[in-house]
Protein backbone atom coordinates (compact mmCIF):
# COMPACT_ATOMS: atom_id res chain seq x y z
CA UNK A 1 0.00 0.00 0.00
CA UNK A 2 1.60 3.25 -1.16
CA UNK A 3 0.73 6.59 0.38
CA UNK A 4 1.33 9.77 -1.60
CA UNK A 5 1.98 12.89 0.50
CA UNK A 6 2.25 16.38 -0.99
CA UNK A 7 4.28 19.05 0.81
CA UNK A 8 2.78 22.36 -0.26
CA UNK A 9 2.16 25.93 0.95
CA UNK A 10 1.17 28.42 -1.73
CA UNK A 11 3.74 30.93 -0.54
CA UNK A 12 7.43 30.51 -1.37
CA UNK A 13 10.28 30.36 1.09
CA UNK A 14 8.35 28.89 4.02
CA UNK A 15 10.27 25.61 4.19
CA UNK A 16 8.63 23.14 1.77
CA UNK A 17 11.87 21.63 0.49
CA UNK A 18 13.47 21.55 3.95
CA UNK A 19 10.32 19.77 5.16
CA UNK A 20 10.17 17.34 2.22
CA UNK A 21 13.81 16.36 2.75
CA UNK A 22 13.42 15.84 6.50
CA UNK A 23 10.07 14.03 6.38
CA UNK A 24 11.28 11.70 3.60
CA UNK A 25 14.50 10.99 5.50
CA UNK A 26 12.57 10.46 8.74
CA UNK A 27 10.21 7.94 7.13
CA UNK A 28 13.19 6.08 5.64
CA UNK A 29 14.89 6.04 9.08
CA UNK A 30 11.79 4.32 10.37
CA UNK A 31 12.35 1.55 7.82
CA UNK A 32 9.97 2.60 5.05
CA UNK A 33 10.79 2.67 1.35
CA UNK A 34 10.47 6.29 0.31
CA UNK A 35 10.73 8.32 -2.92
CA UNK A 36 10.88 12.11 -2.73
CA UNK A 37 10.12 13.99 -5.94
CA UNK A 38 10.96 17.61 -6.79
CA UNK A 39 8.06 19.13 -8.78
CA UNK A 40 9.73 22.55 -9.11
CA UNK A 41 10.77 22.28 -12.77
CA UNK A 42 13.31 24.96 -13.69
CA UNK A 43 14.13 25.74 -10.05
CA UNK A 44 15.49 22.41 -8.80
CA UNK A 45 16.64 22.54 -5.16
CA UNK A 46 15.67 19.33 -3.38
CA UNK A 47 18.91 17.74 -4.67
CA UNK A 48 20.97 20.43 -2.88
CA UNK A 49 19.08 20.06 0.40
CA UNK A 50 19.46 16.26 0.21
CA UNK A 51 23.15 16.62 -0.68
CA UNK A 52 22.97 14.65 -3.94
CA UNK A 53 23.28 17.51 -6.45
CA UNK A 54 26.37 16.10 -8.13
CA UNK A 55 24.77 12.71 -8.71
CA UNK A 56 21.83 13.91 -10.82
CA UNK A 57 22.09 12.34 -14.28
CA UNK A 58 18.48 11.96 -15.32
CA UNK A 59 15.49 13.80 -13.89
CA UNK A 60 11.70 13.61 -13.48
CA UNK A 61 11.03 15.18 -16.92
CA UNK A 62 13.43 12.73 -18.64
CA UNK A 63 11.38 9.86 -17.18
CA UNK A 64 8.06 11.45 -18.18
CA UNK A 65 9.30 11.88 -21.77
CA UNK A 66 10.72 8.36 -21.99
CA UNK A 67 14.33 9.55 -22.24
CA UNK A 68 15.35 7.52 -19.18
CA UNK A 69 13.96 4.64 -17.16
CA UNK A 70 12.66 5.46 -13.68
CA UNK A 71 15.35 3.32 -12.01
CA UNK A 72 18.07 5.25 -13.88
CA UNK A 73 16.70 8.57 -12.63
CA UNK A 74 16.09 7.60 -8.98
CA UNK A 75 19.10 8.68 -6.91
CA UNK A 76 19.73 6.39 -3.97
CA UNK A 77 20.43 8.33 -0.78
CA UNK A 78 23.98 7.80 0.49
CA UNK A 79 22.84 7.46 4.11
CA UNK A 80 19.66 5.41 3.82
CA UNK A 81 19.21 2.29 1.69
CA UNK A 82 15.47 2.77 1.27
CA UNK A 83 15.41 6.46 0.33
CA UNK A 84 15.41 7.71 -3.27
CA UNK A 85 15.39 11.20 -4.77
CA UNK A 86 13.88 12.13 -8.13
CA UNK A 87 15.24 15.53 -9.16
CA UNK A 88 13.36 18.18 -11.11
CA UNK A 89 14.59 19.20 -14.53
CA UNK A 90 16.70 22.34 -14.42
CA UNK A 91 16.56 23.12 -18.14
CA UNK A 92 12.99 22.45 -19.25
CA UNK A 93 10.07 24.81 -18.81
CA UNK A 94 7.29 23.90 -16.41
CA UNK A 95 4.92 22.77 -19.21
CA UNK A 96 7.09 19.68 -19.65
CA UNK A 97 5.26 18.08 -16.70
CA UNK A 98 2.11 16.38 -17.93
CA UNK A 99 -0.71 14.88 -15.92
CA UNK A 100 -0.41 11.55 -17.76
CA UNK A 101 3.33 11.51 -17.24
CA UNK A 102 3.09 12.23 -13.52
CA UNK A 103 0.45 9.52 -13.12
CA UNK A 104 2.65 6.95 -14.93
CA UNK A 105 5.67 7.71 -12.73
CA UNK A 106 3.62 7.51 -9.51
CA UNK A 107 2.06 4.23 -10.68
CA UNK A 108 5.49 2.75 -11.42
CA UNK A 109 6.69 3.71 -7.93
CA UNK A 110 3.62 1.95 -6.52
CA UNK A 111 4.41 -1.19 -8.53
CA UNK A 112 8.00 -1.03 -7.22
CA UNK A 113 6.71 -1.33 -3.66
CA UNK A 114 7.39 2.16 -2.36
CA UNK A 115 5.59 2.82 0.95
CA UNK A 116 5.65 6.61 0.70
CA UNK A 117 5.94 9.07 -2.18
CA UNK A 118 6.69 12.62 -1.01
CA UNK A 119 5.83 15.27 -3.62
CA UNK A 120 7.74 18.52 -3.01
CA UNK A 121 5.51 21.19 -4.55
CA UNK A 122 6.72 24.44 -6.09
CA UNK A 123 5.35 27.69 -4.66
CA UNK A 124 2.28 29.22 -6.29
CA UNK A 125 -0.89 27.58 -7.57
CA UNK A 126 0.18 26.98 -11.19
CA UNK A 127 0.68 23.72 -13.04
CA UNK A 128 3.60 22.30 -11.01
CA UNK A 129 1.79 22.92 -7.72
CA UNK A 130 -1.44 21.52 -9.16
CA UNK A 131 0.22 18.30 -10.36
CA UNK A 132 2.14 17.87 -7.09
CA UNK A 133 -1.14 17.82 -5.13
CA UNK A 134 -3.41 16.14 -7.68
CA UNK A 135 -2.64 12.51 -6.77
CA UNK A 136 -2.09 13.08 -3.04
CA UNK A 137 -3.67 10.98 -0.30
CA UNK A 138 -2.43 13.35 2.38
CA UNK A 139 -1.16 16.91 2.40
CA UNK A 140 1.35 18.62 4.63
CA UNK A 141 0.66 22.34 4.39
CA UNK A 142 3.76 24.21 5.51
CA UNK A 143 2.94 27.56 7.11
CA UNK A 144 4.90 30.33 8.86
CA UNK A 145 3.17 32.28 11.65
CA UNK A 146 2.89 35.31 9.41
CA UNK A 147 -0.16 36.84 7.65
CA UNK A 148 0.64 36.19 3.97
CA UNK A 149 1.69 32.60 4.60
CA UNK A 150 -1.45 31.83 6.61
CA UNK A 151 -3.75 33.33 3.98
CA UNK A 152 -2.00 31.44 1.15
CA UNK A 153 -2.29 28.21 3.14
CA UNK A 154 -6.02 28.68 3.36
CA UNK A 155 -6.14 29.05 -0.42
CA UNK A 156 -4.18 25.79 -0.76
CA UNK A 157 -6.55 24.03 1.67
CA UNK A 158 -9.41 25.07 -0.62
CA UNK A 159 -7.64 23.64 -3.67
CA UNK A 160 -6.88 20.38 -1.84
CA UNK A 161 -10.59 20.04 -1.16
CA UNK A 162 -11.61 20.56 -4.79
CA UNK A 163 -8.78 20.15 -7.32
CA UNK A 164 -7.39 16.74 -6.46
CA UNK A 165 -8.20 13.31 -7.88
CA UNK A 166 -9.69 12.26 -4.55
CA UNK A 167 -11.99 15.29 -4.57
CA UNK A 168 -13.00 14.78 -8.21
CA UNK A 169 -13.73 11.07 -7.77
CA UNK A 170 -15.40 11.52 -4.39
CA UNK A 171 -12.91 9.02 -2.85
CA UNK A 172 -12.90 10.85 0.46
CA UNK A 173 -10.96 13.99 1.21
CA UNK A 174 -7.21 14.41 1.08
CA UNK A 175 -6.15 14.27 4.73
CA UNK A 176 -4.79 17.72 5.63
CA UNK A 177 -2.09 18.54 8.16
CA UNK A 178 -0.51 21.85 9.10
CA UNK A 179 3.20 22.04 9.75
CA UNK A 180 4.20 25.29 11.40
CA UNK A 181 7.81 26.28 10.63
CA UNK A 182 10.10 29.18 11.66
CA UNK A 183 8.33 29.28 15.03
CA UNK A 184 9.91 31.63 17.53
CA UNK A 185 8.48 31.07 21.06
CA UNK A 186 10.17 34.19 22.50
CA UNK A 187 8.48 36.39 19.90
CA UNK A 188 5.15 34.62 20.50
CA UNK A 189 5.45 35.36 24.23
CA UNK A 190 6.21 39.02 23.42
CA UNK A 191 3.02 39.25 21.31
CA UNK A 192 5.03 39.77 18.13
CA UNK A 193 4.17 36.48 16.47
CA UNK A 194 0.98 34.43 16.17
CA UNK A 195 0.93 31.32 18.34
CA UNK A 196 0.23 27.72 17.27
CA UNK A 197 -3.26 28.14 18.70
CA UNK A 198 -3.85 31.36 16.74
CA UNK A 199 -2.92 29.67 13.44
CA UNK A 200 -5.00 26.58 14.26
CA UNK A 201 -7.99 28.78 15.06
CA UNK A 202 -7.74 30.83 11.86
CA UNK A 203 -7.30 27.81 9.58
CA UNK A 204 -9.47 25.39 11.52
CA UNK A 205 -7.23 22.34 11.17
CA UNK A 206 -4.86 20.87 13.73
CA UNK A 207 -1.09 21.22 13.61
CA UNK A 208 0.94 18.05 13.00
CA UNK A 209 4.19 19.62 14.08
CA UNK A 210 5.87 22.85 15.05
CA UNK A 211 9.44 23.42 13.89
CA UNK A 212 11.29 26.10 15.88
CA UNK A 213 13.25 28.76 14.04
CA UNK A 214 16.86 27.75 14.56
CA UNK A 215 20.30 28.35 13.07
CA UNK A 216 20.75 24.59 12.67
CA UNK A 217 18.30 24.63 9.71
CA UNK A 218 20.60 26.88 7.66
CA UNK A 219 23.70 25.03 8.86
CA UNK A 220 22.19 21.72 7.72
CA UNK A 221 21.20 23.06 4.30
CA UNK A 222 24.68 24.56 3.88
CA UNK A 223 26.04 21.03 4.16
CA UNK A 224 23.37 19.19 2.20
CA UNK A 225 22.19 17.24 5.26
CA UNK A 226 18.45 17.11 6.02
CA UNK A 227 18.08 18.82 9.41
CA UNK A 228 16.29 15.78 10.86
CA UNK A 229 19.72 14.07 10.92
CA UNK A 230 21.21 16.75 13.19
CA UNK A 231 21.13 14.97 16.55
CA UNK A 232 21.55 18.14 18.61
CA UNK A 233 19.07 20.34 16.72
CA UNK A 234 15.68 21.18 18.21
CA UNK A 235 14.38 21.61 14.67
CA UNK A 236 15.61 18.10 13.86
CA UNK A 237 13.88 16.66 16.95
CA UNK A 238 10.67 18.50 16.05
CA UNK A 239 10.77 16.89 12.57
CA UNK A 240 11.27 13.46 14.18
CA UNK A 241 8.16 14.07 16.29
CA UNK A 242 6.22 15.13 13.19
CA UNK A 243 7.23 11.92 11.37
CA UNK A 244 6.08 9.86 14.38
CA UNK A 245 2.70 11.63 14.38
CA UNK A 246 2.42 11.09 10.62
CA UNK A 247 2.82 7.36 11.40
CA UNK A 248 -0.02 7.61 13.91
CA UNK A 249 2.03 7.78 17.11
CA UNK A 250 1.22 10.23 19.87
CA UNK A 251 3.96 12.69 20.77
CA UNK A 252 3.65 15.74 23.02
CA UNK A 253 4.46 19.07 21.34
CA UNK A 254 7.94 20.30 22.30
CA UNK A 255 9.90 23.54 21.91
CA UNK A 256 6.82 25.78 22.25
CA UNK A 257 8.22 27.76 25.19
CA UNK A 258 11.01 30.31 25.08
CA UNK A 259 14.21 29.24 26.82
CA UNK A 260 14.31 30.61 30.36
CA UNK A 261 16.55 33.63 30.72
CA UNK A 262 19.48 33.61 33.16
CA UNK A 263 19.63 35.87 36.21
CA UNK A 264 21.67 38.68 34.58
CA UNK A 265 19.42 38.77 31.53
CA UNK A 266 16.36 38.94 33.74
CA UNK A 267 17.76 41.90 35.65
CA UNK A 268 19.22 43.82 32.76
CA UNK A 269 16.93 42.71 29.94
CA UNK A 270 18.03 41.63 26.47
Amino acid sequence: MTETIVVTSGKGGVGKTTTSASIATGLAQRGHKVAVIDFDVGLRNLDLIMGCERRVVYDFVNVIHGEAALRQALIKDKRHETLFVLAASQTRDKDSLTQDGVERVLEELRQDGFDYIICDSPAGIEKGAHLAMYYADRALVVVNPEVSSVRDSDRILGLLASKTRRAERGDGAVQQHLLLTRYNPARVEAGEMMSVKDVEEVLGIPVLGVIPEHESVLAASNQGVPVILEETSHAGHAYKDAVARLLGEERPMRFLDAPKKGFLKRVFGG
Binding site: E146, V147, V202, F268, G269
Partner: protein
Protein backbone atom coordinates in the same frame (compact mmCIF):
# COMPACT_ATOMS: atom_id res chain seq x y z
CA UNK B 1 11.33 41.88 31.79
CA UNK B 2 14.52 43.66 32.86
CA UNK B 3 15.07 47.11 34.35
CA UNK B 4 15.97 48.53 30.94
CA UNK B 5 12.67 47.31 29.48
CA UNK B 6 10.69 49.48 31.89
CA UNK B 7 12.20 52.52 30.22
CA UNK B 8 10.89 51.50 26.82
CA UNK B 9 7.26 51.92 25.81
CA UNK B 10 5.41 48.62 25.92
CA UNK B 11 5.07 47.37 22.33
CA UNK B 12 1.64 46.64 20.88
CA UNK B 13 0.45 43.08 20.66
CA UNK B 14 0.66 42.86 16.88
CA UNK B 15 0.07 39.08 16.87
CA UNK B 16 -3.53 39.70 17.95
CA UNK B 17 -3.99 42.24 15.17
CA UNK B 18 -2.68 39.71 12.64
CA UNK B 19 -5.00 37.02 13.93
CA UNK B 20 -8.06 39.25 13.84
CA UNK B 21 -7.33 40.47 10.28
CA UNK B 22 -6.78 36.91 9.10
CA UNK B 23 -9.94 35.64 10.76
CA UNK B 24 -12.00 38.16 8.77
CA UNK B 25 -10.30 37.78 5.38
CA UNK B 26 -10.19 33.98 5.58
CA UNK B 27 -13.91 33.82 6.43
CA UNK B 28 -14.72 36.13 3.54
CA UNK B 29 -12.59 34.19 1.05
CA UNK B 30 -14.05 30.88 2.20
CA UNK B 31 -17.60 32.12 1.71
CA UNK B 32 -16.99 32.77 -1.99
CA UNK B 33 -14.79 29.69 -2.53
CA UNK B 34 -16.11 27.22 -5.04
CA UNK B 35 -18.79 29.72 -5.99
CA UNK B 36 -19.11 31.13 -9.49
CA UNK B 37 -16.26 33.40 -10.69
CA UNK B 38 -18.63 36.28 -11.37
CA UNK B 39 -19.52 36.86 -7.70
CA UNK B 40 -17.03 39.68 -6.96
CA UNK B 41 -18.05 41.54 -10.16
CA UNK B 42 -21.75 40.98 -9.47
CA UNK B 43 -21.19 42.32 -5.97
CA UNK B 44 -19.51 45.51 -7.17
CA UNK B 45 -22.12 46.16 -9.89
CA UNK B 46 -24.96 45.66 -7.42
CA UNK B 47 -23.23 48.05 -5.07
CA UNK B 48 -23.03 50.69 -7.83
CA UNK B 49 -26.78 50.35 -8.54
CA UNK B 50 -27.76 50.51 -4.88
CA UNK B 51 -25.51 53.54 -4.34
CA UNK B 52 -27.59 55.47 -6.92
CA UNK B 53 -30.47 55.37 -4.43
CA UNK B 54 -29.01 54.84 -0.97
CA UNK B 55 -25.57 55.79 0.25
CA UNK B 56 -24.55 52.39 1.61
CA UNK B 57 -21.16 51.37 2.85
CA UNK B 58 -19.20 49.06 0.48
CA UNK B 59 -18.92 46.59 3.38
CA UNK B 60 -22.70 46.55 3.80
CA UNK B 61 -23.32 44.09 0.96
CA UNK B 62 -22.97 40.39 1.64
CA UNK B 63 -23.35 37.97 -1.21
CA UNK B 64 -23.30 34.20 -0.81
CA UNK B 65 -24.11 31.11 -2.78
CA UNK B 66 -25.62 28.42 -0.59
CA UNK B 67 -26.22 24.86 -1.59
CA UNK B 68 -29.67 23.67 -0.61
CA UNK B 69 -30.24 20.07 -1.65
CA UNK B 70 -29.74 19.89 -5.42
CA UNK B 71 -30.18 23.58 -6.12
CA UNK B 72 -28.18 26.68 -5.27
CA UNK B 73 -29.51 29.83 -3.65
CA UNK B 74 -27.94 33.21 -4.33
CA UNK B 75 -28.30 35.11 -1.09
CA UNK B 76 -27.90 38.87 -1.05
CA UNK B 77 -28.10 41.02 2.02
CA UNK B 78 -27.73 44.79 2.17
CA UNK B 79 -27.51 46.65 5.46
CA UNK B 80 -29.04 50.12 5.00
CA UNK B 81 -27.61 53.03 6.98
CA UNK B 82 -29.61 53.81 10.13
CA UNK B 83 -32.52 56.24 9.82
CA UNK B 84 -32.60 56.13 6.02
CA UNK B 85 -34.55 52.94 5.39
Amino acid sequence: MGILDFLKARPKNTANIAKERLRIIVAQERSTRGGPDYLPLLRSELLAVIKKYVNVDPEAIQINVERDGDHEVLELSVALPEGKA
